[in-house]
């Protein structure tokens, strides 16, 4: 299988009042179709910027983003996004929140068909029975599950996750990691996950990309060749502990606290 996402020599700078702020510099990442790529890097190094470039919300100053062999120059309907803030719409029920992307992407699809799809996803993440609730009635973890359903409802090729579990407590987070593996087993998507949590990156990623400090460039790529669904206690096996230590070391370098 080929690469679904190719990031080729991407550089980007924001224009700020105090001059240009270079955020990404000659970044290269390949993400094979159907695989899960975790990206870690120091805070403020440009990870969210990377997601916006892949989503086509911005165009890089230099370099190219390729998706399915096509150059990304504008948003496309085959992308799903979820953020640390679940940004659910308070005036809609959970079901109607999940339906939102279909209203844009497939306005002519019959309502019954849309609903069936949304209910199928909600059941997959354990939210069956909560369809008619309002977001404010749900816990943080449940809201994030609903947000994942919304990101997947239109069967995107690419799932972009920008620290979606960052605000959750440790146990809820581990539950959602497992949910992620279950979703992967049933939904065909290629994922890019931004995270601060090294354990999360090793548990979920087929590859872990470490970005250097700003301006971010690809500092290292670790491949984790373990076909999914992974048991949670894999994180305590010596091989994975060694990976975590390695990543920890890489992050220290990225933060400029240690020389390579």
């Amino acid at each position: 299988m080929g690469n679904l996402i190719e990031i080729r020599g991407v550089s980007h700078a924001y224009r700020t009042k105090s001059g240009p702020l270079p955020v990404l510099k000659n970044l290269n990442i390949d993400i094979p179709e159907g695989s899960f790529c975790a990206v870690v890097g120091p805070s403020g190094c440009g990870k969210s910027t990377l997601t916006r470039l892949i989503a086509g919300l911005m165009i890089p100053d230099a370099g190219e983003v390729w998706l399915h062999g096509e150059r990304v120059t504008s948003p496309r309907k085959t992308v799903g996004m979820a953020f640390q803030n679940p940004v659910l719409l308070e005036w809609r029920t959970i079901l109607d929140n999940v339906l939102l992307p279909l209203e844009i992407v497939a306005p002519t699809m019959p309502r019954s068909q849309k609903e069936a799809r949304a209910r199928e996803l909600l059941a997959m993440v354990g939210l069956d029975g909560f369809e008619t609730r309002r977001p404010s009635e749900l816990s943080g973890g449940m809201r994030q599950r609903a947000s994942l359903c919304r990101a997947l409802v239109h069967r995107p090729d690419v799932l972009i996750l920008d620290e979606p579990f960052g605000a959750l407590d440790a146990f809820t987070r581990e539950d959602l990691w497992q949910t992620m593996h279950q979703l992967r087993a049933r939904e065909p998507f290629t994922a890019l996950l931004i995270t601060h949590d090294l354990r999360e990156s090793v548990y979920l990623g087929d590859q872990v990309v470490v970005l250097s400090g700003r301006p971010a460039t690809t500092q290292s790529v670790m491949t984790i060749d373990l076909p999914g669904p992974r048991p949670l206690d894999m994180l305590y096996q010596p091989e994975q502990v060694a990976r975590l230590a390695q990543l920890r070391h890489e992050i220290q370098i990225a933060q400029g606290r240690e020389v390579a």
């Binding site: 953020f83 308070e90 939102l100 844009i104």
Partner: protein
């Protein structure tokens, strides 16, 4: 339903009226000096047809002025909330305009559009009440978190779509908060014109002619009628808020 919720405010009103009545009686004030509550109902009955005729004139002009303020204020707020440049350009103008005491604008408008009484009144009601609406819509749209925009923009949705599906409904609670202020302001605007410029329309005119005759019972009866109308207008907005932004009210739904 808790009976105390009704009984306590009613008792408070009754007590206040009793104190008022007692004070006028004790001081021996005649009608041309001060009215007492027992004078109000006869005053109303004496002029009953006028109360309804003038009341209707005040009501419809307030409602039309407010409706225009909603249209104009929302449009202005949208322009300011969606464009940074327009916000920077318009905000000082808006603040400056709002700072002008509207009582000084009434004679100006009356001179500019001599004889167009309904138009003048509605114009003042509009001018006095659009400000909170424009500001609340502008702030609501301007402070939309980027993620809300991005979930739709990343699917190729247009700006208009983002506005209809997310930005507009999300600002409804702030909008209704502003509308509650605006309805009171529009009502003040209408009365201001009716009292200041003599054109023989509205409850303000009835108040004005009562004042000319030192008819205190009638003046107070008009005041109470205006208060009643103000309360009705306010709760009409509250009812609309429950329908359109009920989701934002804690414990509701």
């Amino acid at each position: 339903m808790d009976w105390k919720k009704v009984a306590v405010p009613l008792a408070a009103i009754a007590l206040l009226l009793a104190l008022w009545e007692g004070l006028v009686w004790a001081m021996g004030w005649p009608d041309y000096k001060m009215a007492s509550p027992s004078d109000l109902w006869p005053a109303y009955l004496r002029y009953q047809p006028l109360f309804w005729l003038y009341g209707w004139q005040t009501l419809w002009r307030t409602v039309v002025g407010l409706a225009l303020a909603v249209v104009f204020g929302t449009a202005l707020g949208m322009v300011m909330g969606l464009s940074r440049v327009m916000n920077d350009a318009l905000y000082p103008l808006l603040v400056g305009f709002n700072a002008i005491p509207k009582a000084t604008v009434v004679p100006v408008v009356a001179l500019m559009f001599v004889g167009h009484h309904d138009f003048n009144t509605i114009l003042i009601a509009l001018m006095i009440s659009f400000f909170p609406i424009a500001v609340s819509v502008a702030i609501g749209l301007g402070t939309l978190e980027p993620e809300y925009r991005d979930i739709l923009r990343s699917l190729g949705a247009s700006r208009v779509m983002v506005f209809w599906k997310i930005a507009l409904p999300k600002t409804l609670p702030e909008f209704f908060g502003a509308l509650k202020v605006a309805v009171t302001l529009a009502f003040i605007g209408t009365n201001l014109v009716e009292i200041i410029t003599p054109h023989g329309r509205g409850l303000g005119h009835l108040f004005q002619s009562a004042q000319t005759n030192s008819d205190f019972p009638l003046m107070f009866a008009v005041l109470l009628a205006l208060a009643a109308m103000g309360i009705v207008l306010y709760y009409a907005i509250v009812a609309l808020e429950r329908v359109f932004a009920g989701w934002a009210i804690r414990g509701a739904a």
